[in-house]
């Protein structure tokens, strides 16, 4: 019997080093469909690298990462990722979404109407004809979300999606992320923003210096972290104390 989807995602003793520098060490975790998983940690904790390993942009130097082995197709096709700095192609906003649909093999006839519908959902329909590179930072990130969401990914990875945005742009991006999760995509995102983690997360994975030191539901984590590293992060202590 083959599985319907690619989840769960399983990481077993995953490590990643570059030129002798260990960035991640012995990460074991399992991600199931459902809860929004937020990977929390300070700059340099290894959050982005962990996300890239899960998405397959990097290969682990130790351990293994596996999607549901019963899934028959290409797991790549069922995931999407939104980056901290959105990469906009030099074409219109609409054409950026159409491009993603084309690569994913959607029938030509449906691409434009589907892309327009997605732009509508992120509030960019009025800017559909605008060159994507001339949009503001917040609009670009919403467009990147529309491009990823249009693929109806089973898993959506987001790497610090609002790190470069002002509060109102952040709010609209967070609303879209919440909607994506409501509609059934598994969201796995990184952030160093505690407020954002509180607003979006169902569960927290706390990363500290390349190690997964704590994993808990959001309420449990913010009520009282069980490790001194996480407690220090919540207090805002400097990491070298």
């Amino acid at each position: 019997m083959s599985a319907e989807g690619i989840l769960p995602l399983e990481l077993a003793e995953v490590g990643f080093s570059v030129g002798g520098t260990r960035i991640l060490e012995a990460i074991s975790a399992r991600f199931d469909a459902g809860p929004v998983s937020v990977i929390l940690g300070a700059n340099g904790a290894g959050k982005s690298v962990l996300l890239r390993l899960c998405h397959g942009l990097l290969a682990p130097t130790a351990g293994r990462i596996a999607w549901d082995g019963r899934f028959a197709g290409d797991p790549r096709r069922r995931q999407a990722m939104v980056f901290q700095r959105p990469v906009m192609l030099r074409r219109s906003a609409l054409a950026n979404v159409v491009y993603g649909l084309a690569l994913a093999g959607h029938p030509r006839a449906e691409r434009t109407s589907r892309a327009r519908a997605m732009l509508g959902r992120v509030g960019l329909l009025a800017l559909a004809g605008r060159p994507a590179r001339l949009l503001s930072g917040g609009e670009q990130q919403r467009l990147a979300l529309a491009r990823a969401w249009a693929l109806e990914p089973e898993v959506l990875f987001l790497d610090e999606p609002t790190a470069n945005l002002d509060p109102s742009a952040t709010r609209s991006v967070e609303e879209i992320i919440a909607a994506v999760a409501r509609e059934g995509s598994k969201v796995i995102m990184t952030t160093h923003d505690l407020g954002q983690a509180k607003r979006l997360a169902d569960e927290i994975l706390f990363l500290h210096r390349g190690r997964l030191v704590e994993r808990a539901t959001k309420d449990a984590f913010f009520a009282g972290p069980s490790t001194p590293e996480a407690a220090a992060f919540l207090r805002g202590d400097l990491p070298w104390d």
């Binding site: 990722m81 030099r90 060159p131 590179r133």
Partner: protein, 234 residues
């Protein structure tokens, strides 16, 4: 200074006089150099993209050689093509030697490394920015190359124009493989060389002005197209 003034006057007379022999020389120059540039772009842009995107052993050496080939001496390229196309050469049976076809082949070889090397650098830089996003969206190497060529089209246009400038200005390659035969393979640069050696400097300089005006016009048109497209934010 007198020579230059006389040359300018000759150039204007030549253009106004619209003598058919002059026009056939100008047209052949344009035809050969444009054909060579188009061919070199069709081959060089994908080649540059390929070298930019692919990681293979010896890649750095290939890049060094390609960059060095931007400075190929036209006469040497002409000589190699001459040997290939001469009656005893491997491509002799084609009968191309001393025809415009041979000149197009020689100029294509001359321009190809320029377009490919510049395209490689431009696309390599863009790939640094696009790599993760395109990989995430599932683009294969061919799709990625096509996307990068499309997105870098304005910078690549500059690379193609550099190639055209080289083709239009060189004399060595077309002289060796074309033979400067009046009415058959005589182009502007070979005419300039001939008129200079005959001592008809105003005639040579006049043609030189025509040549420079043409190159300037083509660059102007390309730049206008580029900025028109840029205004639409493409």
């Amino acid at each position: 200074m007198g020579d230059l003034g006389e040359a300018a006057a000759t150039a204007i007379q030549m253009i106004l006089g619209a003598d058919w022999r002059l026009w056939s020389v100008v047209l052949l120059s344009l035809k050969v150099s444009l054909a060579a540039t188009v061919l070199a772009a069709l081959l060089g842009l994908p080649l540059g993209a390929l070298i930019a995107l692919k990681r293979f052993p010896g890649r750095h050496l290939v890049i060094v050689i390609l960059n060095a080939c931007m400075g190929l001496p036209p006469v040497v390229v002409g000589l190699v093509v001459y040997l290939m196309l001469s009656r005893a050469g491997p491509l002799g049976p084609l009968g191309l030697l001393f025809t415009p076809g041979a000149m197009i082949v020689a100029q294509t070889l001359l321009v190809l490394p320029i377009i490919a090397a510049l395209a490689r650098q431009i696309i390599d830089d863009a790939w640094g920015e696009y790599r993760e996003q395109l990989t995430s969206l599932g683009a294969g190497p061919v799709q990625a190359a096509a996307t990068l060529i499309h997105d870098c089209r304005f910078s690549l246009l500059t690379a193609v124009l550099a190639g055209f400038g080289r083709a239009a200005a060189e004399v060595g390659a077309v002289l060796v493989v074309g033979g400067n035969i009046d009415g058959v393979t005589r182009v502007m640069t070979t005419t300039i060389a001939l008129e200079t050696s005959k001592g008809d400097l105003p005639q040579a300089l006049g043609l030189g002005f025509v040549l420079m005006a043409l190159v300037l016009a083509i660059n102007g048109i390309a730049l206008a197209l580029r900025s028109a497209a840029a205004r639409q934010g493409a």
